[in-house]
Symmetry: C2
DNA sequence: GCGACGGCCGGGAAAATTTCACGACGGTGC
DNA sequence: GCACCGTCGTGAAATTTTCCCGGCCGTCGC
């Protein structure tokens, strides 16, 4: 435990899983886990008090999620090094995470070596993406699937969010203070722009692109 | 490592997570992890060759999922003791798991002690459910939400599955060899029986009840 | 200033879908 | 036999979706 060890903050809402990170990382010389958090808010607090060299962050967590935690930490410390380590084998999430300021994205299905390698790369200032996500990103590029966040105007995106969260056209019209007709028109336009034929496909696309998570839907 | 140790098979598609189980369990005397599997098929194969006293099983895995793996193992060995350990804090999944033959259901957010306790309980022949799921189950009972699997007839359930998986009414009519009109009628009837007003709500309910998982939707 | 453009809001009408009422058929239980 | 339920389908009404339209407003380039 020399003073030169790189210090690490682990963030994951599953304690048994944190135990796994620890076990893998402590086999690696030069790394030292100095703190653990179970949600985004705690992660932010601990980052400020502990100033670790690296954060390993899960995405799906109660309260403020991982993406938002990444954003806040980066806002507080522009140089923060955050490696996202998550179960989502989903290019959409990776794009969001990197845009939010993460320096790496590794899926939990990756072998321990990949995680260790990514930790080292991020500490060395590189960007680390696990191979499966690299592949996913390439595929989505090739498929040319429209990214909802890109092709939709802010208003359309908002309506889409509400469609997925609330239910009836009338309710949305009310919260937006526009006519139900407008919402219906937008709804149709959104499906058109996104190239989906049904609401069910719309939900699937939102899930695939990480606009929505399972827990968002389940709780609603 | 006495011969009297209880032998355990770990099943989880995330290697780092298996590392976590190991770390927690090996602190407990009387337990010995003898094998690990990364998916349902491998779990089944290893169960037959290793005959462990207990299986600790994740649910969301590539290929055949955890529920199906539980079913197969129990079919092969009526006395198999399987403890489901998953991220899904979802009463629907718990019901499915128990019906498939699991002897316990613990969420990954639970502290390590809860997992250890559940392992001991299941080995002792008891049924172990983590407190959060107990609570969820109680709530869903109180809310009296119609369980899709109960209120729907087999045919209706099948159509619902197809609606969530495929997309157009025509395609489903084709695969079922019935008129599109019938599918439309069923579609309407299903929403009525389930008390949902829109397709989006239908997806949400399916997710909540564990009829569908995020990966089902994403991959479609 | 002024014209072009794009986002936003909604009306109107045609087209498609959803919903409801109804009948037929086979299987099951009494 | 008879009642009941699940399945399948028709037809017509009700509703929604979709398409086409025009107006309003802010921005950009000239």
């Amino acid at each position: 435990m020399s003073a030169a060890d790189a210090t690490i903050l682990l963030v994951d809402d599953h304690s048994v899983v944190r135990e796994g990170y620890r076990s893998v990382l402590q086999k690696q010389p030069g790394l030292r886990v100095i703190a653990e958090a179970a949600d985004g808010a705690e992660a932010y607090r601990l980052y400020k008090s502990e100033a670790p060299d690296l954060v390993i962050m899960d995405l799906s967590m109660p309260g403020i999620g991982g993406i938002e935690a990444v954003r806040r930490i980066r806002q507080w410390d522009k140089g923060a090094r955050i490696l996202v380590f998550t179960m989502h084998e989903n290019a959409g999430f990776a794009v969001q995470a990197i845009r939010a300021g993460a320096r790496g994205y590794v899926t939990k299905t990756s072998p321990p070596e990949t995680l260790v390698r990514a930790v080292m790369d991020v500490l060395a200032g590189k960007i680390a993406i696990s191979p499966d996500i690299d592949h996913e990103l390439a595929l989505s590029r090739l498929a040319g699937e429209s990214s909802a966040a890109d092709v939709l105007t802010p208003r359309e995106f908002e309506v889409m969010r509400l469609l997925l969260a609330e239910n009836t056209t009338e309710e949305i019209a009310e919260t937006l203070h526009v006519s139900p007709k407008t919402v219906a028109n937008l709804h149709s336009l959104i499906k058109d722009k996104l190239g989906v034929g049904s609401d069910i496909e719309l939900v699937r696309l939102a899930l695939r692109q990480g606009i929505l998570t399972e827990v968002d839907l389940g709780e609603g």
